[in-house]
Symmetry: C2
Subunit: 409 residues, 2 copies
Amino acid sequence: MSLYVYKFGGTSVGSTERIRSVAEKVKKAHDLGDQIIVVLSAMSGETNRLIALAKEMQAQPTEREMDVLISTGEQVTVALLSMALHELGCDACSYTGGQVKILTDSTYTKARILHIDEARIRADLNAGKVVVVAGFQGVDGDGNITTLGRGGSDTTAVALAAALKADECHIYTDVDGVYTTDPRVEPKARRLDHITFEEMLEMASLGSKVLQIRSVEFAGKYNVALRVLSSFKEGCGTLITYEESQMESALISGIAFNRDEAKLTITGVPDLPGVAFKILGPIAEANIEVDMIVQNIADDATTDFTFTVHRNDYQRAKTLLEQTCIDLAARKVTGDNGIVKVSIVGVGMRSHAGIASTMFKTLAALGINIRMISTSEIKISVVVDEKYLELAVRELHAAFELDKVPEIA
Amino acid sequence: MSLYVYKFGGTSVGSTERIRSVAEKVKKAHDLGDQIIVVLSAMSGETNRLIALAKEMQAQPTEREMDVLISTGEQVTVALLSMALHELGCDACSYTGGQVKILTDSTYTKARILHIDEARIRADLNAGKVVVVAGFQGVDGDGNITTLGRGGSDTTAVALAAALKADECHIYTDVDGVYTTDPRVEPKARRLDHITFEEMLEMASLGSKVLQIRSVEFAGKYNVALRVLSSFKEGCGTLITYEESQMESALISGIAFNRDEAKLTITGVPDLPGVAFKILGPIAEANIEVDMIVQNIADDATTDFTFTVHRNDYQRAKTLLEQTCIDLAARKVTGDNGIVKVSIVGVGMRSHAGIASTMFKTLAALGINIRMISTSEIKISVVVDEKYLELAVRELHAAFELDKVPEIA
């Protein structure tokens, strides 16, 4: 008998019809003799509807009250799924985050889970019930309702899987797994049977929006085996674990990309200690997130400094940087908000040389100018002009033979 | 400094605009230096929307899950009102029934309140906050969410007023008080400044839908001064207390009526001990509520037995009674689903003779045939043909001079 945590997102419970499908899927697994905990999001659109109501009441809604409000969304879906399970003759019991209880800190709208009581859930599971838990929410030490922030239902699922030592945590989404790259850009993209946490983190932070980063970090930290799979079609999805696959020996696992980048450069900066802080300090204070950072010595006395930000923050960042340019007596500020980032990701990089040069050779052969390069242990990112995105992704996909199932090492 | 509990129903919080009006009303009272607890229902229509969702999932929704589901309606309104109060610069804090906590038994969908923790509310009040509590809901000893049944928000308000020894419990509705009768039937109907609990109970159970019976019983039991008043216009409403008014010496306080009645008669029933049970037992088992019951001896050996039920239950009750007629070897079953009940109510009856005869004389002068009579200490009810309802109510209103403010006794 195995214990599984199943998590279904808003699209998967977006209508009573879909909730019924979820109930059927859950019952099928339960009938096989496994113990099942289900974690649900709110029906798609519901959280946004509630936020809109809140904003009608208060320009900047009080965060404690916001959590009281939006936590109702998941409470509705867990009750409805339990009813659907009962209708199928499958005993089930729903719980809010507070009822479980999922104890969090008091940081309303983005609380962190501190502890999960497993006693009540364990008792229900042992009594043969399916346990249905409202995702995204918890309760602080004083009994105030908290929420975990966007994607918090994934975090709830992983945290429950960790607390109850589940065999696997299944994240059901509208895609059937993690792909070598976005199939809308490269139709030959292939679903990966297996990926490591580290690769998944790099893929997620680079724009493959399958899973929330926090839940992957959490799963990694507590060594919870995660599986991403489709709510709507059969299949075994993609398993995410610590272990590198015995079966697959790919050099790289996938190609991630991010369209919404912009690049800013300040040139001729006097090369003195603390200059990076002087440049990025005002950006950070304005709550603008900086992604890639590259610094080059231009000549003996000055340096050129380039970084990327989200395209929405480009104008604000540029204005701040122009002030810094004056303050530091630097030469000038240039920028480009028509760039994208393309990254190759894979734990195979650790043990194989020549991957970077394959990437650069492929892009060079296409006449694609690389504007920035940044590397980590398991990824190489390049910034290129926006118009080359699809071409670069497809040709890199082919160059690394990602469309083919790798042979056993 | 006084402590008030204000309860607003679904219509009063039916839109964000109306929630804002409630916030303004509450703030005004709070600014006068009084302590305010607000109890809210769900936005009008919301509970029915949720029930419809439930019925899509399960033909007979599991009651525990139904309570998890529908309790979200009030949770939404308390959060929104708290936000609206904050927007007005008035400190406020919302609580679900479980957070307060309002401890109930485990009778899902119609739980009874066992105990209310006042500590948390008292602390907030003393800190100058408005406390906003979700009506209609509580939590059982195991932390399961319960609801109190239709009109449960009134019960929550009264129970909080009792627990915290509030000076008055204000029930804001879409009418501006309790009237001598329904103004849609008799435009001369007059708002009563004051009515006793007993009168209110008789008025409520007879179809004046201003307050839920249970909340009036509760208020009477704990001696909570109740005031019914309008959410939408100014005015001091109707105060409901134990004391008979010093100012008003009316013989009767009002005329209640109920349109949805049906009458069933079984004649020629052998007059043996236990016959009433044999007749009403199957009706009760079918969960059909019986209102008036009249039994007359027809001759030495048999009896005629008449009772009224809600018109919706007429056919089911008639079918059951026909089987009973066969079982008891009674003569026959007759019925009429075109009848109404008209009642005069007043504590003045206790000390004044001749009230019944004034009623009967008035109806006789109009040629209205009385089909059944039933009396209690402070009310007299008659059943008449449906078509006479408005005429009977108006003429009785005039006969007892209910349009005039009574002189001081």
